[in-house]
Symmetry: none
Subunit: 373 residues, 2 copies
């Protein structure tokens, strides 16, 4: 059993999805969590939901007047408010709690740091974070204690960051089950421009083209279009705040995207021109290589080797397959079962590391399974 | 019980994913299916897989010489070959079987029709189809009898199409569980440019930007980027054939996409300019409206309930999980493993039918697994 690193109490300011998830996660480790939110409804919901107790004092001075002053004076303040007010709320909390470490969890990191620096905040006690986790729904009721489990949690320390501040925020992220990634604020903001902000806008622009569909083409949509446009359903107001804090970095990558798409359009206008097919192929090959850089799961990931096992639709066959796979000392990365109603069999698609492919296929063949690559 | 509309035998030419799926689907309805493929391996696999029997004759003349001539003379030929040879193979089949209705299932429809017209093929007996169904993997073993179930099946009849030809192909699509959509070839090709070909290239171009990631940003990727770039893993050779047959229509939409992205880039370069925030918001609102036009569900299938099992990264733990799942008498629909680098645990996401959720979660808890919804 790992001991809990986070020292009670901590204060969560902003009880939306992220704030409530931080609070629930820490509560599940036995940490005493104080809650605050500008909206009494969100605050009450989060408290009812078990995320912590409503903070009786909003400053060290007010807390000092209480009987249980120490129990109501946070060691760490986690600011979980929208991006456009993050810098301001961080400043307020640094002032309100002169002995607390303050962090925020907004998705852009240079802007709040600049704000705190410009307003003379105590930079030894502030460092930004960005847990790379979210859900499609928001609000306190969407909060989950395990939201950060196994997810990267970027911590953007800077020259003035004290070792104690860094260690306390790292401890909090680790207590929530996250993996700590250290980056400076500028590198972080460039990274999220590439992996989050540009994909959001590309998805929005693609989805917007469907407004030109007068012929009912959208009704024919398949999984590809759905995937590409899923995040186009995101909230424009929240994204306006995020993008406003990272505009130039996003714009640079968008220019590259527009230039690539224009080059493709030119090639496609006449595919009989020598070289045109090559241009289209090169862009798609670059896409193959780019998507292969994304680690982990991705439908059927390119980094894994996949094979298929045929299963009779008889009872107990799937159980036998699971048990046989269990005996083979190979890490299964992904396993997908398909029941084919027409055929009298099901198929299990199994992904493993490429170097394990022969072993597991041979072992399953030895156990009388029909196996195909 | 609906009677089967398709009259035996039918001939499937090309036993890849689509051809094998057509064959399996018709076989499950009791239709006699003849198979042919340029690759003896693909043909043998499809036949072994239960998709039908290898055609003993490849023309009406050859079939006439057989004892069971009628049983080996197809009423319908379904051409399921790559787009670049579709027109040619349709022509060959029209000539080989002078009494058969011929259709093809390639994803572009004006080009094969033009080819048949230019080569003097019998247009009363040919009409194109495009079943809007597919999978990420190809080949006969990827074939599924239910691949077309509930999916749109576009039929592109034209001025010369005979009523009988139309009815027979509609009957075949209905027998496979598909929903028939009638369009002319030009309207179809414009529709797929918008809902399939442009999304493919947009996804490829987005993924290609990750090749400029020198800072390890890709490691922070979340679900949004994964979704947008999933189809960037598609096969460049197959797509080159598709795009070559629909280039100008795709190019027109790509120009609109590039123009929208350029407008966004300009706005984002300085969000303090009056009107800049409005431009960004308007594009995102258009994206909201566009994605709302796509019918049905997005993302992880809504028909399954998913829960998470935490696995220690110790040897044998995954094997134990598989073996324990094998003991529980619940059909696992999908199982996905995530290894969180850095964290000392992995997560298995397991999908089951909603009514089985409580059972399997309880059974796994009883076996000391940490389980969460």
């Amino acid at each position: 059993m790992t001991p809990v690193r986070t020292v009670s109490p901590i204060l969560v300011v902003g009880t939306g999805l992220l704030g409530t998830s931080v609070a629930l996660g820490l509560r599940s480790q036995g940490v005493d969590v104080l809650l605050n939110d500008a909206s009494p409804v969100a605050l009450g919901l989060a408290a009812d939901y078990g995320a912590g107790r409503i903070a009786p004092a909003t400053s060290a001075t007010a807390a000092a007047a209480l009987d249980d002053a120490e129990a109501n004076t946070p060691k760490i303040v986690v600011v979980c408010v929208p991006p456009d007010v993050a810098g301001q709320v961080v400043m307020e909390q640094l002032t309100a709690w002169p002995d607390a470490i303050v962090t925020d969890v907004t998705s852009v990191k240079a802007a709040p740091l600049d704000y705190v620096r410009e307003h003379g905040g105590d930079l030894r006690r502030y460092l930004g974070s960005h847990p790379m986790a979210g859900r499609e729904t928001g609000g306190p009721l969407a909060g989950r204690a395990n939201l950060f489990l196994g997810r990267p949690w970027v911590i953007t320390s800077h020259a003035e960051t004290s070792v104690q501040a860094l260690q306390e925020i790292e401890g909090l992220a680790l207590d929530l089950g996250a993996t700590v990634v250290n980056m400076d604020a500028e590198a972080h903001d460039s990274a999220v421009a590439l992996i989050s902000h540009v994909p959001q806008l590309v998805s929005s622009v693609m989805a917007a083209q469907l407004l030109n569909d007068d012929a009912g083409a959208s009704a024919l949509a398949g999984g590809g279009l759905r995937d590409v446009t899923r995040i186009a359903a995101s909230d424009p107001t929240m994204w306006n705040q995020i993008l406003a804090a990272n505009g130039p970095r996003v714009a640079t990558i968008l220019r590259d995207v527009a230039s690539d798409i224009t080059e493709l359009a030119t090639a496609l206008e006449d595919m009989s021109v020598p070289g045109a097919r090559r241009i289209v192929a090169d862009h798609m090959i670059a896409g193959n290589q780019g998507v292969a850089r994304i680690p982990g799961k991705h439908g059927i990931s390119q980094t894994f080797a996949t094979f298929t096992v045929m299963i009779d639709d008889a009872p107990g066959q799937l159980a036998k397959l699971f048990s046989d796979i269990g005996e083979v000392e190979v890490n299964v990365e992904e396993l997908q079962i398909e029941h084919a109603p027409g055929a009298n069999m099901g198929l299990a698609q199994i992904s493993v590391l490429p170097e394990s492919l022969t072993t597991i296929m041979d072992e399953l063949r030895n156990r009388d399974w029909k196996v195909a690559e």
